[in-house]
Amino acid sequence: MANSFLEASARERVQAVCDEGSFQEILKPSDRISSPHMALLEQPVAFDDGVVIGRATLGGAPVLVAAQEGEFLGGAIGEVHGAKMTALIAKAVKEKPRAVLLIFESGGVRLHEANAGLIAVSEIMRAVCAARAQGIQFIGLIGGAAGCFGGTGLIARCCDVLIMSEEGRLAMSGPEVIETVYGVEEFDSRDRALVWRVSGGKHRYVMGDIQALVADEVNAFRNAALAALDSGKVGFDLENLETEHAMLTQRLKQFGDCRDAKEIWQRLGLPSAEELALMPADEFVRATSVARDVARGAQ
């Protein structure tokens, strides 16, 4: 099995992140729960509609898991795909596992079934928040080539803990969309270093949007998920909402005039963007720990 999280398929990621051999899929490919809408549009379907869900253990603790397959329609959320995630969370509320692992790789709403996808995203967001309020921990993992965009990016930011590799991207709109609307001067989507400085794991880590930055290795993701179990749990209450509000408010004050993470990093007194770009994840985490606290407004 490939060691790279980026190169692994959704199924391989589930197998590698959870305890070996522990994964039990719910709605197997042979159940043929695929999209009824793609056929109407004469588009090929996937047996699992691009998301694998099931039960597993993580460090011996029972967890529920969902993993999106970024290669199938960019991991986009349609009716069935979305309902599988919503249902998994409903199941978590019933079964009370130690945590729910969401392995994201998705461009957001699937255009071919856009209305269903949009509704599904809001259902998943509501379900995640409601389940968190009942004490269930949500751990999100982001490190696939398709990134985590649009509605999926909103779902991700509803989790307790997010773990990313620097290859992962977490944002709302993709650079191509912004370039199409406002031109190449606004956002040059071919300038991939810039794209990553705007949406990649390293930038998101310094900003405090995610809790862990790891190397692009399935084991690194697994270890971070193990570490996150319980210790990363933040609950869902006014206190942590207000903490987040303070962080987001001071971010706009401190960096609201910036258009590139280079400016932010410079303002935080960090090494040059070139140096930071080449640092392995662990070294980067060490090099930015003080700056990250300043950026988050944490003392």
Partner: protein, 107 residues
């Protein structure tokens, strides 16, 4: 784009291993997903294909004939979702699927 459905039933030596369904590959451009399940007729391998690339029935036939000859696929039911995978990729996925099938412990 419009889809094409293809169906084949090919003679093949009996596959002795019995197990749960196996899925390999992904429905993605230049790729395909292959689902292997136990079928009825142990002397044949049935193949159902849904492909976005129209007009390659003859090539599918040839690729599948060779597969059924090369591997023990009798009694297997194969379903494929294809998005323009080349014959080399299709053959690779079929072989991977059979290997996974025959490997009792793997998935």
């Amino acid at each position: 784009m419009s889809m094409e459905q293809l169906k084949y039933n090919l003679p093949s030596k009996i596959q002795q291993t019995n197990r749960d369904a196996v899925l390999v590959g992904v429905t993605a451009s230049g790729n395909c997903e292959v689902l292997l399940e136990k079928g009825e007729d142990t002397a044949h391998c049935s193949v159902d294909i849904q492909t976005s690339a129209r007009g390659f029935g003859q090539i599918w036939q040839a690729v599948l004939n060779d597969f059924a000859e090369r591997k023990n696929a009798g009694g297997l039911k194969i379903e494929i979702h294809d998005v323009g995978a080349t014959p080399a990729v299709v053959s690779l996925r079929l072989d991977q699927a059979i290997e996974a099938w025959e490997n009792q412990h793997g998935q």
